[in-house]
Amino acid sequence: MKPDLYRLTVAEARDSLRKREISSVELTRACLERIATVEPKIHAFITVSEREALDQARAADARIAAGEVPALCGIPLAIKDIYCTRGVRTTCASRILENFVPPFDATVIAKLRAEGAVFVGKTNLDEFAMGSSTENSAFGPTMNPWDLTRVAGGSSGGSAAAVAADECLASLGTDTGGSIREPASFCGVVGIKPTYSRVSRYGVVAYASSLDQVGPFTKTVRDAAILLRSLAGVDPRDSTCSARPVPDYELALSGDVRGMRLGVPREFFVEGMAADVERSIRGALAHYQKSGAQIVDISLPHTEYAVGAYYLIATAEASANLARYDGIRYGPRAEASSLAELYSATRAHGFGAEVKRRIMLGTFALSAGYYDAYYLKAQKVRTLIRRDFEQAFMKCDAIVTPTVPTTAFKLGEKTEDPLQMYLSDIFTISVNLAGLPGLVVPCGFDGNRLPIGMQLIGPPFGEEAILRAGDAFEHSFALKRPAQAI
């Protein structure tokens, strides 16, 4: 069997499968063996579905033999354990869903199945996607493949690490305040959070419904374009999902950024940002300029209020979204003699500390006497943040920013200080509040050989522009990658 097939990109694997140079079973075995080797160190997965994966791979090979080869047919993917997968347990890294086996597929899972994709397993995350380090998992943290003493980021840390450690060719995450982009930056992979409503949320366990969005982690921008095309599109089961036609994002990858106006918001270069991070973002900007792009100074004046508004809106929605976990229809149930006890004990045992904290904060923000001062106020600030971006996009085609002020921090470094943890999303959160697409592309490494990611923000449904800019950078910029992660 060919050696490191698991290092292939989706595009490479797709072409080799079509040319019958490799089979999906070979490719899938390679990933499963890679998982067996590195998982003890990384812990990217909650569930590895080896048998199902090999069945899917065999089916994919049969389809390929029959000459029918959709884009993702036979490609081994890892799925954040927040997507409902029919017949495969879906835990959301929570004890309250520890043994939950959905009788249905999330819409995007159904779409990928229809294309013949292979699911090697369900990846680790912060419980209910509430966190920025994947340390809030009922099943233990995920380690950063570049430095096992550091976090992979979160909440989609498992999916980011799985791609960085070549345990799969690509993976799915979700992003509510930076949960795709922050781990992508920390793990040195590509991640895109599409425009809100671009991809169906049906069957994706809800954290904050007006902010949650589905997106892929990949090794290249081209792969992100390939996956996004398969994921995006209208869904009769999701009332918020857009009916706009889905372009072939791969066609947007012209490699040419000449004349493109890239906005750089002053407010994003704050003190407290790691010098290495600022340096590599500036380096990327310089490179863009050399490539013929035009760098324009812009302002997003309400950026500093984004984290505050986010933690009121997201937790308010979460407090209702998580009310269904009551131990009555599914999930473990605490011993209780009365109904009140059944609820409070089941939820006390089932939820971790951060989830409880956010449910409490959200309940407070919505409760009588506080609604206007907190929840409603946050919604108004959300309007101001949206307007900032509308103004900015009159002057530019895409916005370039750092993704996180720092590189991956040490495990345990912020677990005792929720606020510090929240602040690691300071550059990503406003993008969710405005519902915009955000792409993260590796753009450098710090002194500790830790990856740094650049964030490209587009206008609503402006995925093509940021993918084009990201792909052009990826191809022309000589990124000095240290030896492979792990």
Binding site: Y202, R324, D326, Y330, L339, Y343
Partner: protein, 479 residues
Amino acid sequence: MTINETYEAVIGLEVHTQLLTRSKIFCGCSASFGAPPNHNVCPVCMAMPGVLPVLNRRVLELGIRAGLAAHCEIAALSIFARKSYFYPDLPKGYQISQYELPLCKGGYIDLPGDGEGARRVRLERIHIEEDAGKNIHAAGGSLVDLNRSGVALLEIVSKPDLRSPDDAGAYLRELRTMLLYLGASDGKMEEGSFRCDANVSVRKRGDEKLGVRTEVKNLNSFRNVEKAIAYEIGRQIEVIESAGRVLQETLLWDADREATRPMRSKEFANDYRYFPEPDLPPLMVSQEMIKEIRASMPELPGERRARYVRDFGLTAYEADVLTAEHEVAEYFEAVLPGLANKKAAANWVMTEVLRAVRESAKPLADSAPAPAETGALLRMVENSTISLNAAKTAFSAMCKSGKGAEATIAELGLAQVSDEGAIGAACDQLIAADPAKVAEYRGGRDKLFGFFMGQVMKAMGGKANPKVITDVLKKKLAG
């Protein structure tokens, strides 16, 4: 009557009715009643993780129908909201309802009747929302059935314009009738598809400001609504009279004890934390949609009453009786084809048909003949194939046997004889048998004619057509 000269009651009703749709409001599960426990459920209506709601078009159409019928303003943009509380029959832990921007605002319902009864009750709002499931209280625990979870509801909230239990009853009946005419509700209070909560307060007559109100729940029949309100008014007056304070609270009507009692579980002393439902974008209603629905509106009770008076020459009273129940009005109209005398048909339905319903204590369909058969019977009266009395005899027989008009008349031999030959023969016999009386008559005792009529009718076994007898007899006696 609980209300005395000193106090007046102020009552507002909150009505919830299930809408007559095939599927639930936000998922493709059947909304039908009576399936085995948890058979009409899916991941959406049992709130599995990650599921999302999608609005049923029919629910919106029926909601707008009701709004138009009640003269409401239909909102071009309305918003769904989450109402949060924990209860086993509420799988998501919140109900998707409407709060700040409902589908229909304002409006009113006119109570029928003249003078005393005639009143206009203003509405606060009408909105659409989802029903909860059912908890069945069993030994050793409670059982949860989610078949009803996610069935479409219409909530109709009146302003506190009602002043007495009778008022409330009249409003509720009119509202129910309206919804039945609209095909929006089946109005079955006992099955719980039509439910009512009452907000009740009392104040000294002439007072401007309202007293403290209580909310009375669990009113599952018209009688209970009226009884409970009457009881609650009395209770509040007593509290005030005995220098106490009425507490703002939610009460349950205990139909067996015929009394209200506070809800035990503090689950309901609640802070619902309403906020806009992020899974449903704002609901937009175009003028075109409203136009279409207005054009397809079924006839409403008021309109039908007017038509009966105008076209059939019925009295207002008759029109009220016939339209009070939708199925009675429908029956009446199905009787009419081919009948010249609409008023006679109306009287027949009001007397004979409604009597049959009363006596059988069953729904109309099971207690009276098919309207077509009743029509056929009345046509025979019109063309004097049978007498009115014969028709009544036949009708009660038809109610029991379920047989058709023709068959019944034949079976009971109720057809009238109009054959001049037979009648003539009977007359000849009589004249021959009693020459003396004939002479008297011919001598000018006209009064005797009635006697001869009776004799002939007797001879004919009462089945002869009186008109024919008169003609023939006149000729014969004239000699």
